[in-house]
């Protein structure tokens, strides 16, 4: 029951958290920034609208937003929020989660290519490329976690006191993992320095250019999906970063959502202080995450011995 409540709250809160990034950026820019509920306003506005479809598009174009939101909700089902066991959990569920995100990617790309727009094709090509390295890094993390716990599901890593256990057995190298996960999060969610959602030139975009032609509720679905995905990653980072649990459930909850807030703000800070990388530098940046986890794994192996 608690899990369901948490899931619902996650579904509802995710847009709010994303708005926090905007707030932080505005703060760094010396501006007031949009209200914290801006994302809800946008979503409602979009839900109210109709859509314009390109004549080039087909059914797949409409499937894109649907599938990406669908998978985003799916992965939240597997996510242990605030240390509570997730709704669904089984041996190997994390592999399914990674592949579900790939499924979403497939449809986002397919929807982009459906429009026959050269810009969207360009974005799609990038979208197809960078996550490959992310996936490798994620699997590398998985290997490390598997060494530490001997389990292969999200709950075993992030539920309850498990993250603390990870720290206890791996120690300092886990810092690398947190950093790597942060990089993967930035990449997968199209944040600076990989992608700049606020840029004005389509040529330099990745994710935003792919959804140029979506409008109305379809576009709302995409936005929502993006919020959930970011929420998923941010939760993982938050749990790893502050693994402590208290015996008081309410305190746990508050602590978790507080840390989550910090993670979102960290994203905002990163976006504010960094510039977007040149496209050909991005693979190196993403590869760093892989290298970090690999390094951490090697050290941990020695450490355990």
């Amino acid at each position: 029951m608690q899990s369901v409540v948490l899931l619902v709250s996650a579904l509802l809160l995710a847009p709010l958290y994303s708005a926090m990034i905007l707030k932080v950026k505005a703060f760094f820019g010396g501006k007031k920034g949009p209200p914290l509920l801006i994302n809800y306003y946008t979503l409602i506005k979009l839900f109210k609208k109709g859509s314009v479809y390109s004549t080039s598009t087909t059914l797949i174009f409409k499937l894109g937003p649907l599938v990406s939101l669908c998978t985003a909700v799916m992965i939240l089902l597997f996510l242990p929020i605030a240390g509570h066991p997730p709704l669904i959990s089984f041996n190997g569920d994390i592999i399914l989660v990674i592949y579900l995100m790939a499924l979403a990617r497939f449809f986002t790309i397919a929807a982009a290519l459906d429009t026959a727009s050269p810009f969207e094709g360009m974005g799609a090509a990038r979208e197809a490329f960078f996550p490959i390295i992310c996936e490798a890094a994620l699997f590398m993390m998985l290997i490390l976690f598997y060494i530490l716990t001997g389990e292969l599901n999200l709950a075993a890593y992030f539920a309850g006191a498990q993250p603390l256990g990870l720290w206890q057995s791996a120690g300092a190298p886990l810092l690398f993992v947190v950093l790597a996960l942060f990089i993967v999060m930035l990449t997968e969610n199209a944040r600076v320095p990989v992608d700049d959602p606020a840029t004005h030139l389509e040529l330099t975009m990745i994710h935003e250019v792919m959804v140029l032609d979506h409008s109305g509720p379809d576009f709302a679905f995409i936005e929502l999906g993006a919020f959930y995905k970011l929420f998923f990653y941010a939760t993982l980072v938050a749990r790893l970063l502050c693994p402590w649990t208290f015996d008081v459930p309410l305190l746990d909850l508050i602590f978790f959502f507080g840390v989550l807030c910090l993670v979102y703000m960290a994203i905002g800070v990163t976006e504010s202080v960094m510039a977007r990388y040149r496209m050909d530098k991005v693979p190196q940046f993403v590869l760093t995450s892989f290298a970090l986890v690999f390094f951490a794994t090697v050290i941990t192996l020695e450490f355990i011995k």
Binding site: V52, Y53, N91, Y99, A102, A124, L212, D280
Partner: protein, 651 residues
């Protein structure tokens, strides 16, 4: 065994009958397709039945008075038979309309002959129980598929493809023969049964020789060169058959040999796993770089053979390390991927065949927007393209999932096996991501967007071509959502491998597939809810259509679309040392744009190195030796004297 031979007989009739009917093309194709499909169906049912009630059945034929050749069907054979007959049946049906354009009636009739021969030979290869029977059927398989590859011989590149294929087949067969020779030297018997008693060093030699031989048929990476050439050359249903199941006979050879040798040393698993990794990663990178639709699919076969071998390797390592769960997961995952790949690859080839058949071109960058005029082809192709990178809830995911879990079991092992398991996992992740890129590229460029050339305006036709695609696509979904029954089949097939586990308990493995089914059901549920939500949101809204937003360009043309080449360019650049790219474009001159051109081509590094290191030196050496026959009789007589003198030294 009886229904098995009956099915082969029916299939053979489907090959022979068209030879007499070639004056009436419709009847000819009908007879061929129907009989082959019927025979395959019978064989499929029989093989599936055998998988559920596994009993080894044997038949022996005496040959040349002295050499008895034996065919035995155990559950491993039956599993491969299921894949073979399933794909054969589908492709046979498909051929009925696919071959209708051909104005060469006799050639089509001959094509049916070799088609049926190929199916029969494949079925016999996987049931062969001694060296002679195996080689006999193996060679017939190579020969008949050669004729199918050379079907459209008018084109220079097809002739070259057939040449390469023939050479690789023969060299591969020779390696297999050598492996058998070494075995025979040890056991003094043509039967496979006695091979387990050989010394370890001999077993290793046999395995490596056979690995080269079978690898060249399976399209293992450095030996794959024939594959991307032969598949585009053959008619599409033949490509489907060859890529779907024929190359799997190589896999069968490797796994059968493993069972025969009964040698559970870690080195075998390490070899297989390493070979699989190289093949998988290189295959998919090259798939990304191809311009021809069928070549993409061909290289993707190289990749999938790699994945299968990774599974087998994981299994072998599991056996050697004494981890039954890992072993069974690896083998079962690999075997299941054999079936899965057979299904989605034949589906994709049939889709490609429809494209080729209707538009007349297989060049990706000349196509586009086909899904609008080919809805069924497009949709089924989409399912294939989703299944092949292993996305849930399709069948590719199931087998890869099993292999992943198997490989994770290997993480806890000692140094070498740990590193290999790690590489297997990361490699599969990499392969999955790249395959996704490769197939979004193919699907996106070929079926989506706008037509890039006038020939891409074609529509789909031919119900017998559409039906097999629908069936195959449905099978992909069914296996993806309800994998339990198929995993049971695969585990049955693992049992004859002599792993020493006796009857393998099904429960721990069925649990895994049950969770997949559960997750798939949840996924569908969420999807349906969201679909309903979307319906609700759109009810009563105005939906209009307009041109694509051109980012400021007011008159975008179809030629301005992103091409397949540019789509792949940045990924290929990342893997540059492995994929040499040749580019041809003039430098920019002057301030104003002038007419220019750009061409790029990926060069197969294996082909290049093989040419440089083997072909060129051999040719050079033999070219020099040709001087010997220089036409002067005086020296010829000198040779005789020389021969005498040299031979006299032996006395």
């Amino acid at each position: 065994m009886q229904p098995f031979f009956l099915s082969l007989l029916i299939i053979s009739c489907g090959g022979i009958l068209p030879l007499f009917l070639w004056r009436r093309p419709l009847l000819m194709r009908g007879a061929g397709a129907t009989l082959i499909a019927a025979g395959s169906l019978l064989g499929l049912v029989d093989a599936a039945r055998q998988l559920y009630a596994p009993v080894a059945v044997t038949a022996t034929v005496d040959l040349l008075n002295t050499v008895p050749i034996t065919f035995t069907s155990d559950s491993l054979s039956a599993f491969f038979l299921v894949a073979i007959f399933a794909v054969s049946g589908l492709t046979a049906v498909y051929s009925f309309h696919y071959m209708d354009k051909s104005d060469h009636a006799v050639r089509t009739a001959v094509h049916y002959l070799f088609f049926s021969l190929l199916i029969a030979a494949m079925a016999l290869v996987v049931t062969a129980d001694d060296m002679i029977a195996f080689l006999l059927c193996w060679e017939i398989m190579s020969l008949s598929s050669f004729f199918l590859v050379v079907y459209s011989y008018e084109k220079e590149q097809n002739r070259r493809a057939a040449f390469l294929y023939a050479v690789f087949s023969q060299v591969g067969a020779m390696f297999i023969l050598a492996a058998f020779g070494v075995m025979y030297a040890c056991t003094e018997s043509f039967a496979f049964a006695g091979a387990s008693g050989m010394p370890a060093a001999i077993k290793l030699l046999v395995f490596i020789l056979a690995m080269v031989g079978f690898g060249s048929k399976a399209g293992l990476f450095p030996l794959h060169i024939w594959l991307p050439q032969a598949h585009p050359a053959a008619p599409s249903h033949i490509s489907a058959l060859m890529s779907g199941v024929m190359i799997k006979t190589g896999i069968y050879g490797i796994i059968r040999l493993y069972a025969i040798l009964e040698w559970h040393a870690p080195v075998l698993g390490q070899i297989v796993l390493a070979a699989g990794l190289v093949s998988g990663v290189m295959g998919v990178i090259y798939a990304l770089g191809q311009k021809d639709l069928k070549k993409v699919l061909a290289f993707s076969s190289v990749e999938n053979v790699g994945i299968i071998l990774i599974g087998m390797g994981v299994g072998m390592i599991g056996v050697s390390a004494g981890k039954p769960i890992m072993a069974v997961l690896g083998f079962a995952g690999g075997l299941l991927h054999v079936l899965n790949h057979a299904l989605f690859k034949s589906l994709l080839f049939m889709g490609a065949g429809m494209v080729l058949h209707r538009t007349g071109t297989g060049v990706i960058d000349h196509l586009g927007g086909l899904i609008k005029r080919m809805p069924i082809t497009g949709t089924t192709f989409l399912i294939g393209a989703l299944a092949i990178p292993g996305l849930p809830p399709f069948n590719g995911f199931v087998s890869e999932f099993l292999i992943y879990i198997g490989a994770f079991n290997g993480i806890a092992l000692g140094k070498t096996n740990f590193v290999l398991s790690l590489l297997a996992i990361v490699g599969m992740a990499l392969i999955g991501g790249l395959a996704l890129a490769a197939f979004t590229r193919v699907f996106g460029i070929v079926f989506q967007g706008e037509p890039r050339s006038p020939s891409a305006q074609a529509i789909e036709q031919g119900p017998t071509m559409l039906l097999p695609m629908i069936v195959a696509a449905a099978a992909c979904v069914v296996i993806g959502v309800f994998p339990t029954a198929f995993l049971t089949m695969a585990i049955q097939a693992v049992e004859p491998l002599q792993l020493g586990y006796g009857r393998i308990p099904l429960t721990p493995f069925i649990q895994i597939t049950a969770t997949i089914t559960r997750a798939a059901v949840v996924l569908f549920a969420v999807f349906l809810i969201l679909l309903a939500l979307r319906k609700l949101l759109y009810s009563g809204k105005t939906v209009t259509r307009s041109g694509t937003w051109g980012c400021g360009f007011t008159q975008p043309s179809a030629r301005m679309q992103y091409t397949g080449s540019s789509y792949a360019a940045s990924i290929l650049a990342f893997f540059k040392p492995l994929v040499p790219i040749e580019e041809d474009h003039p430098p920019v001159i002057g301030r104003f744009p002038v007419k220019t051109h750009y061409q790029s081509r990926t060069r197969d590094i294996a082909e290049h190195q093989m040419d440089r290191l083997i072909v060129k030196p051999v040719l050079f050496l033999f070219d020099k030796l040709r001087w010997l026959q220089h036409g002067d009789i005086h020296l010829y007589i000198g040779y005789i004297l020389l021969a005498i003198v040299v031979a006299l030294f032996f006395v």
